[in-house]
């Protein structure tokens, strides 16, 4: 494979052993959802949920151009075939260093990991599973934005996932957000930016509008890497930029910080609170 950043030609075997990070310039190639899961969680610990969920066609969407008529179901069929995935996110639960968590991992190969009803629904279900099991949540984001073919339904997934995270927060459970290349649009402007702790892989494009929109809008040319992981770290939007080979350890550490056993005070006070009547 050839590194798009430093143009070095890399030996596939070594490159794969290096977690698909360029050995020369540390460029982080995109990972598939399953590659990332394998990299992050304890072996054999991942249990997938909602694997068979596929998109419907709420708008009866048809794209008509001069010589072409393409329906959303057509498009979906192509994407499923091309990617071997049913949708742009894989969700479930697993353990990292024996610590349980729910997770949802987006996969850019499926329609640019755009967010439609299924992405919103699967992420929301993963969060609700975490609430039911009283475990933390990790979402690994990558996305080109909202799924245009689902129109306002796609937009509303931002509200749905954010509301689910708000419930998770009220339940006192932590949410870790991992941003990977690229994360833009409605995904950034909802669950991706709501982490109790937010991490990003180095050099990932991260933004709301994305550089092309900004350039078109402002009639300027942005220097390469203007809106990326390091930029959002500098501007106070995330907690850390973490090299891929440190991610698993980092998540394990984070899980330990928030584990109820580590919060001796919380446990006590939670018991006290549950013995009280009424709200929360």
């Amino acid at each position: 494979v050839r590194c798009p950043k430093c143009k070095e030609t890399l030996l596939t075997r070594e490159w794969e052993k290096n977690q698909k990070v360029c050995m020369r310039c540390s460029y982080h190639f995109k990972l598939t959802a399953y590659e990332r899961i394998e990299m992050l969680v304890d072996p054999e610990s991942f249990v997938e949920i909602d694997a068979g969920m596929v998109s419907a066609d709420p708008l009866g969407f048809v794209k008509r151009a001069k010589d072409e008529v393409q329906t959303y179901p057509d498009k979906l069929r192509d994407e499923i075939k091309k990617s071997g995935l049913n949708e742009a996110v894989v969700s479930g639960y697993a353990t990292i260093e024996q610590q349980p968590l729910a997770l949802a991992i987006m996969d850019f190969r499926f329609l640019g990991a755009s967010m439609g009803s299924v992405v919103g629904e699967k992420i929301t279900r993963a969060i609700e599973l975490a609430i039911a099991k009283k475990i933390p949540v990790l979402v690994s984001s990558t996305s080109g934005g909202a799924r245009m073919h689902e129109g306002t339904f796609a937009l509303m997934q931002m509200a749905k996932t954010s509301a689910a995270l708000a419930k998770l927060g009220e339940a006192g459970l932590p949410y870790f957000s991992l941003l990977t290349d690229p994360t833009t649009g409605g995904v950034t402007a909802s669950f991706a930016m709501l982490g109790d702790v937010t991490l990003a892989e180095p050099g990932a494009l991260i933004g709301f509008a994305g550089p092309r929109v900004i350039e078109d809008f402002m009639h300027i040319k942005l220097p390469e890497g203007t809106v990326n992981s390091e930029f959002v770290l500098r501007h106070g939007m995330i907690d850390a930029v973490v090299h891929r080979n440190q991610l698993r350890t980092t998540l394990a550490r984070l899980l330990r910080f928030y584990t109820p056993a580590a919060c001796t005070w919380t446990r006590r006070s939670a018991v006290a609170a549950s013995s009280q009547a009424g709200e929360k």
Binding site: A56, P58, F61, G120, T152, M156, A159, K160, A163, A189
Partner: protein, 323 residues
């Protein structure tokens, strides 16, 4: 108010004739008088006819009409008193968001609105209703203040979307929007939003996570502007019309799709033909809905709000997989 949109051509023609006759005033012959009345009736009939079946793209034209009433007009027409609250308490006062306390139908309501602007100077002052991050943060500040004092929240939505410049990335446009969605979903007060013109993208939704979502008849609510949807899907924004129609973004379409709770009917020819009437309709709709949600116990209201957004979306199951 003149008919000046493309699809209103037949109406404009008719109107021109009417105006010509009206000019004669007292010098109008009996014959001509009858003719005038006929034509006026005809204009009304034709307007009703055209507006009964507006496409989404035509609705976009009306929603963006330069004379369409904006938030500031609605506030002026609906509220007995309004005190603007300014600033995000951290960086700036973003005029694209207009908010404050209102005396509304005998009670205090917190309004948080997008505000566009009509003249060039106004558009600049209000940034054409496209908020910066500090605008969304001001909005959240007012929402939390409403929650603190148990004041119901009403938002008026009217924006193409959040401002997409580099400075907005620097100050966290995405974070500002996301944070509003998060907070609004759990606000411990009754809340309601009305899309009065353009409901564009995350910048609209950032004021839109409420117990009830209403939309003016000739307004739109869309994942992104038709132009930008066209350039994403058709790779050219000249397909904006096709995009608008395919995305089904008009109030009426959205009601059919179950994405809004109710439609507020507009005066004949759109809100700009009769702003006071438009405001009266919006006000009546707000009062009705607020009265309903105020009856619901708070914890229940929050769960209903959660389920409202929770249930949006359509999906299916691949063959051989179970639900």
């Amino acid at each position: 108010m003149a008919y000046d949109l493309e699809f209103e051509k037949p109406l404009a023609d008719l109107e021109k004739k009417i105006v010509a006759l009206q000019k004669k005033g007292d010098r109008l012959k009996a014959e001509e008088h009858r003719q005038l009345q006929d034509m006026e009736r005809e204009l009304r009939r034709r307007t009703e006819e055209i507006y009964r079946d507006l496409t989404s793209w035509q609705t976009v034209q009306v929603a963006r009409h330069k004379e369409r009433p904006h938030s500031i007009d609605y506030l002026r027409l609906m509220c007995d008193d309004f005190f603007e609250l300014c600033g995000d308490r951290a960086f700036n006062d973003d005029h694209a968001i207009l908010g404050g306390l209102a005396q509304f139908h005998g009670e205090t309501v917190m309004f948080v609105c997008h505000q566009k602007g009509r003249t060039m100077k106004e558009k600049q002052y209000y940034n054409n209703g496209m908020p910066h991050p500090e605008g969304f943060r001001k909005a959240q500040r007012l929402m939390k203040q409403a929650e603190k004092f148990g004041i119901p929240l009403v938002t008026l939505i009217d924006t193409q979307g959040a401002f997409p410049a580099l400075e907005d990335e620097e100050r966290g446009q995405a974070e500002a929007i996301a944070s509003n969605l998060y907070v609004m979903s759990r606000l411990r007060i009754p809340s309601l939003s009305v899309v009065i013109g353009e409901g564009g993208s995350g910048g609209a939704l950032a004021l839109g996570v409420t117990d009830r979502v209403l939309i003016n008849e000739f307004s739109i609510y869309t994942v992104t502007s038709p132009e930008s949807a066209a350039s994403i899907l058709w790779r050219s924004n000249s397909f904006a019309q096709q995009a608008a129609d395919a995305l089904r973004i008009s109030g009426r379409e959205l009601k059919k799709l179950g994405l809004v709770d109710d439609i507020v009917s507009e005066p004949l020819g759109g809100a700009h033909h009769n702003p006071p009437q438009a405001a009266e309709n919006v006000k009546a709709a707000i009062c009705k809905q607020l009265a309903e949600i105020k009856q619901i116990p708070l914890d229940e209201l929050l769960e209903i709000r959660y389920q409202k957004y929770r249930s949006i979306g359509h999906f299916a199951w691949a063959e051989g997989s179970e639900a």
